[in-house]
């Protein structure tokens, strides 16, 4: 591989540029959260201000939409994580004949365009006479979060040595104790990743929510509707705050993981 002397620089430089490109809209969104925009729209730069950050809830609609999105995200994540973790353990640990079918059943929701699932569920609720609202949104969100939870937790279960659980059983731990004292703590990093992924999917979902939420406002719905007349800087503030919080959580778990691994290697 020593032959490529120009090639050696091309790839890093290209990768750097590609990453920079991916980050442009993020930087733009954060920068415009500090824009001193006087009108409803937030398109022209009008000077730096912290006012929008300090008074996000002066626009009450944005804050109540945010509250709804957080609530929906938490409830759907809780349900999807419980159902998905059980599925992941069942799929990895046990051999059974319908495995291929179960794999397919779990992949299909990921491979279904949002508009199809959104319209399908809305039709189902409509025919069943269930009014669209908080409950229907949560039901819908669990559907598309579930498969992503299974995939993420499954990867973790595969790295888990069953010998550890056997050791627990040999020491007369009952199945409940084995699960809570051995299996669960070992799976926890995977479960946390899955929950984070599930929450961010739910929090950012627009199409399925739009079809199934009725009059319930969510943060993406607020932005979509506002896009027609201009999105206020307060929306940028919320998105930026959520972004910074999420990145911090991810960085902490990543660095924490790296440190733990180093410590284990030293022992």
């Amino acid at each position: 591989m020593k032959r490529f002397s120009i090639g050696k620089l091309t790839l890093p430089v290209y990768s750097f540029l590609a990453m920079a490109f991916m980050l442009i809209p993020i930087v733009y969104t954060i920068v415009f959260s500090f824009n001193n925009s006087k009108q409803r729209t937030n398109t022209q730069w009008q000077g730096f201000t912290l006012d929008k950050w300090l008074g996000v809830c002066n626009k009450p609609d944005v804050c109540s939409a945010l509250g709804n999105s957080i609530f929906i995200g938490l409830v759907s994540t809780l349900i999807a994580t419980i159902l998905g973790t059980a599925l992941a353990i069942g799929l990895v640990r046990y051999r059974f004949r319908a495995r291929a079918l179960v794999n397919l059943a779990l992949f299909l929701p990921m491979a279904t365009p949002e508009v199809v699932l959104g319209a399908g569920l809305a039709g189902l609720f409509f025919n069943a006479g269930v009014g669209a609202g908080m409950v229907t949104v949560v039901i819908a969100h669990v559907v598309f979060c579930l498969s992503f939870v299974v995939v993420t937790v499954k990867a973790r279960v595969q790295t888990l040595d069953p010998v550890l659980e056997e050791a627990g059983r040999d020491l007369y731990a009952n199945p409940t104790q084995v699960f809570w004292k051995i299996t669960f703590p070992l799976l926890l990093p995977g479960i946390i990743s899955a929950a984070l992924l599930s929450f961010s999917l739910s929090f950012d979902d627009f199409i399925i929510t739009y079809f199934n939420s009725g009059s319930v406002e969510t943060f993406p719905k607020y932005i979509y509707v506002a896009a027609a007349r201009g999105v206020p800087a307060e929306a940028n503030v919320i998105a930026s705050a959520v972004f910074i919080a999420a990145i911090l959580i991810v960085l902490i778990t990543q660095i924490n993981g790296a440190v733990k691994r180093k410590r284990m290697l030293k022992k």
């Binding site: 790839l11 199409i207 990145i247």
Partner: protein
């Protein structure tokens, strides 16, 4: 981490004891019943609705079962441009996303192996867009490419485009936005595949006097195939069903409407449920065909 979600996970299966089926059922049933109720039932309900006709009362939004295959004919003849456009956008955007992502995933997965911390940080940057509103990112591009923005002003002053023309609202703008929004879904599975790529194979190839191009074609590319396939599915499918980027308040115009745009209008505004459902069923049928092609070639184990 989230990126484990997208690749085909390494299959180091433990040959666990085949335990009582009771436990398996207890673990799998709740989730599967949930999917049965709220994923498969809606799909069946869509198929049934797609065959309905307006009921006798003639009220808006009131339909009854009619076994009306004609709905599909109506949909295909009326919305052919939108159907073709959706798949064309999805095809072009998927190819561009693959070309952009491959070198990036190769760099992170192969070249950065010796620096695990940098590798982890790069991966965090790849998934960073997931943490900020998809709609706001798209609106950011809209403002960056607006006629008064720095980019278009430069283009106009250089005479690259007459001032009567705009970038926003064109096919190119929508494809740009779709590609941008779905690049991480391509990069992640490519990374998971390339991360496990044994680079000694490359040395072996060049030791046997294969040219770099031949090494790539005969070794690197075939090994990357699982990542390329799952990336393609994860990008092509959601794009074919997306209609936000193509929306008039985002990067598109009335000339860029897609299948999703029509389903949205027919379902939520005109309340023409049979037409909206037939269109959704058609879209789903194409997707199922694509997935089954994949399953036939690679099995179901690597799907998840």
């Amino acid at each position: 981490m989230a990126f484990a979600a997208f690749g085909s996970a390494p299959t180091t299966e433990h040959k666990g004891p085949t335990k009582t089926s009771k436990i398996v059922l207890a673990l799998l049933m709740p989730g599967l019943v949930y999917l049965g109720l709220f994923f498969f039932t809606p799909l069946i309900s869509l198929v049934i609705t797609s065959l309905e006709v307006p009921d006798a009362s003639g009220a808006i939004g009131a339909y009854q079962y009619g076994f009306a295959w004609e709905n599909y004919v109506t949909v295909v003849t009326t919305y052919m441009p939108q159907i073709l456009r959706s798949f064309m956008y999805a095809g072009i955007a998927t190819i561009i996303a693959l070309l952009v992502s491959y070198p990036l995933a190769y760099f992170i997965g192969v070249k950065l192996r010796s620096r695990p911390l940098v590798q982890r940080l790069m991966l965090v940057l790849v998934i960073a867009p997931f943490f900020i509103s998809f709609l706001l990112r798209t609106i950011a591009w809209k403002q960056i490419f607006s006629d008064g923005g720095a980019i278009m002003q430069t283009v106009y002053s250089l005479g690259l485009m007459p001032t009567s023309q705009h970038f926003l609202g064109t096919d190119a703008a929508v494809i740009f936005g779709l590609t941008y929004n779905f690049i991480p879904f391509m990069t992640l599975p490519l990374f998971t595949t390339l991360e496990r790529f044994d680079v000694r194979l490359l040395e072996a190839g060049s030791d046997l006097y294969a040219s770099p191009a031949k090494v790539f074609r005969k070794i690197t590319l075939p090994i990357s195939m699982p990542g390329i396939i799952s990336g393609t599915l994860l990008v092509f499918i959601p794009i074919a069903g997306d209609y936000v980027n193509a929306g008039q308040n985002f990067l598109g115009s009335s000339k860029t409407s897609m299948i999703g745009t029509i389903v949205d209008t027919e379902f939520l505004q005109t309340q023409n449920y049979p037409i909206a459902s037939s269109l959704s069923v058609l879209l789903m049928a194409v997707i199922v065909a694509l997935v089954s092609l994949y399953v036939r070639s690679s099995g179901t184990e690597d799907l998840l």
